[in-house]
């Protein structure tokens, strides 16, 4: 049984749902674009909280019908995500580190790490995940990543060499470690941007411009 009393996001109403009908119903609204007309999908309390939150956050009279929120609760997805998340995160880090002599690198690893947050959002509810992540973390990640890269670059100028000249740093194999660090910084930036953008787009409301570096 996928029952889990420690999970704060499950609701009492979920236990009554027959698991056989579950994939059908959860597949349907997830597959549909939220722009289509409202179906008679049974709205769980979580989803109605989501859609109410979205409606009160941004709905105005120009929106024709209330679109169903993108979140549908499903015990299978929640269990799977709960198990897989650490492995996906590790895979992301692995890809970030191994860009030099196999496929991978900063961008790809960053996207995979960002996908971790997306998975958590889709499994457990976007609003909840957004509150957990907080408004500052994506921006903070992007800022730290860019600062690391610029510090490495300008640091070598201050030490007397050219911009981004790794050899100035005097560490053994400075070029390799320098590039590795830059890749990690890029991974941070991409993860921050992917996460931030997901919440902006899924939230469906204003502020969708601006800090899209």
């Amino acid at each position: 049984m996928t029952d889990d009393t420690t999970d704060p996001t499950t609701d009492d109403g979920e236990q009554d749902r027959p698991t056989s009908g579950e994939p059908q119903e959860s597949a349907d609204p997830v597959a549909e674009k939220p722009r289509e007309s409202v179906d008679s999908v049974a709205e769980e309390p979580r989803e109605s909280v989501d859609s109410v939150a979205e409606e009160s956050a941004g709905g105005d009279e120009l929106v024709a019908e209330e679109p169903p929120g993108p979140y549908v609760e499903s015990p299978i997805i929640m269990a799977t995500v709960r198990i897989i998340t650490p492995f996906v995160f590790t895979l992301g880090l692995f890809v970030m580190f191994h860009g030099a002599d196999s496929s991978g690198g900063g961008f790809q690893g960053g996207v995979i790490v960002g996908t971790v947050v997306l998975m958590l959002g889709i499994a457990f509810g976007i609003e909840v995940t957004r509150e957990w992540i907080g408004p500052r973390l994506p921006v903070g990640l992007v800022a730290v990543g860019v600062l690391v890269f610029l510090t490495i670059g300008v640091g070598s100028v201050l030490l007397g060499g050219d911009f981004l000249e790794y050899e100035e740093y005097g560490i053994h194999h400075a070029s390799k470690y320098g590039i590795e660090l830059v890749e990690l910084a890029i991974g941070l930036i991409v993860a921050g941007i992917v996460t931030g953008l997901f919440f902006v787009i899924a939230g469906g409301m204003a502020d969708s411009e601006g800090d899209l570096a």
């Binding site: 500052r136 921006v139 600062l147 300008v154 050219d162 911009f163 800090d211 570096a213």
Partner: protein, 544 residues
Amino acid sequence: MSDLVPLLVAVPIFGSIFALLAGLVRSRTGWPLAVLAAGVQVAGALVLAVDVFDDGPIRYVVGGFTAPFGIELVVDGLSATMVVLVAVVALGVLAYARAAGPRSNAFYATYLLLVAGLTGMSVTGDVFNMYVFLEITGLAAYALVASGDGGRPALAALKYLLVGTVGASLFLLGIAYAYVATGTLNMADLATQLEAVGYDSPLVWASFGLLVSGLFVKIAVFPLHTWQPDAYAGAPDSVSALISALVSTVAAYALIRIVFSVFTVDFLAANDIAQTVLVAGAVASIVFGSVIAVSQRDLKRMLAYSSVSQFGLVVGAVAVANDTALTGAMIHLVGHGVMKGGLFLTCGLIAAATGARTVDEYAGLAERFPVGAGAFGVLALAMVGIPPAVGFVGKWYVALGAVEAEAWPLAVVIFASTLLTLAYFARVIERIYFRDPPEASAGSGPADSPSGSEPGQGSAAGTDPGEDAATGVATDGAGVDTDGTGTDTDGTSVLAGTDDVDASAVSTGMVLTVVAAAVLSVALGVAAFEYGQLLEPTIERLLA
């Protein structure tokens, strides 16, 4: 010190990040940080320009990886000019945007990112690096255009995005063809290698065609200009000024760089069709840009079509490809940046003060708002090409170059362009100075509708007034009644006569910037001759 070159790109990025971080802690800290970064940028740019004009071009290798294998930054007279122009205009528009513009930290972060992208595009000596900075510039520009309130800016930004991406992708495809032909991406290296491959090879032709098409989209040359009117008209006023003064200008610089540093003059001489394409684009832009501008009612759209026409002039100078024409092109790029930016800022100022946005609403502006009307008049006449102003000098050199090269159709069109420019500016100036202001311009208070409000942080100058159409309706006739479209905005009396200038929406910063732009457009014209002398060694090297 030659380390200044990458630092000039790094400083605005630092500023952008600090603006973002500061926004997490305290809002409304964006403007001081942006001014600090822009101030440092101006100082650095001036030092770099003095260095380059004194000692010759600077070649800087990034990361110690020597030239054809690594990325090289090359700064010569053209690049230094562009860097200084970008820094100065950015600082100037910041002075305007303090009162008028959007105020969120994210806006200033994107603003500084745009400055970084433009500077990067100007100093790089590697074609792919230029593509990357072109895309950074584009992204920042799309986000800035969308920073107004309402749906119109978002639509304009989306259109700009779609068309601009096609342009940049064509640019990338051109780089791909050049890379396939030669195996290198460094501009200086490409020049020698392309010559070795031969200027009659289809790879080289394809590369040239794609690169030039991509840049035509970014410069907004006639058939590919469709994004420009919507983007300029839909963006907030400070953003319109910034983008019109800088983005197309640096794209035109990129065209000059690509045509003359990568495919040298010999390529143009060997392939007549290349020159024909450039001339055709130039002539079409000049003529059609002006003709369509005449029929516009909204002032910002008119100025956008005017940009199409002016950049046609610059593309024509590139087609002619001799010393005088290129000097004229550079002078015109700098002058157009200052003049067009100043014109957009003036439009914003007038709209903030009196709510006038269309040509008809500008009637009698000289009585209602003499400072704004005066600045507009000076800038417009400078753009038309009245002698001491910089618009005249640029056009004169380009026309002279065309005559020297015996490109008669182009020369005739350039001479005619003055008349065409006069056609669309004269109607506005006539309305400003020689017509009476409309009767009870009811309820047309400071309508900063598509401008000056930032999302999510409250509106700029008080309440949010009605749309353009509402003000148009209210001021078209002599309607005294302010109908219930809510245009009765902060504090202006409904039955106010001709002096309905709302002083609270106009700050001294805005007025000073506009006046400075007008003065600069004349001063630059006087100084243009010395600037031409300064540029001479650079252009000789370019055309060698």
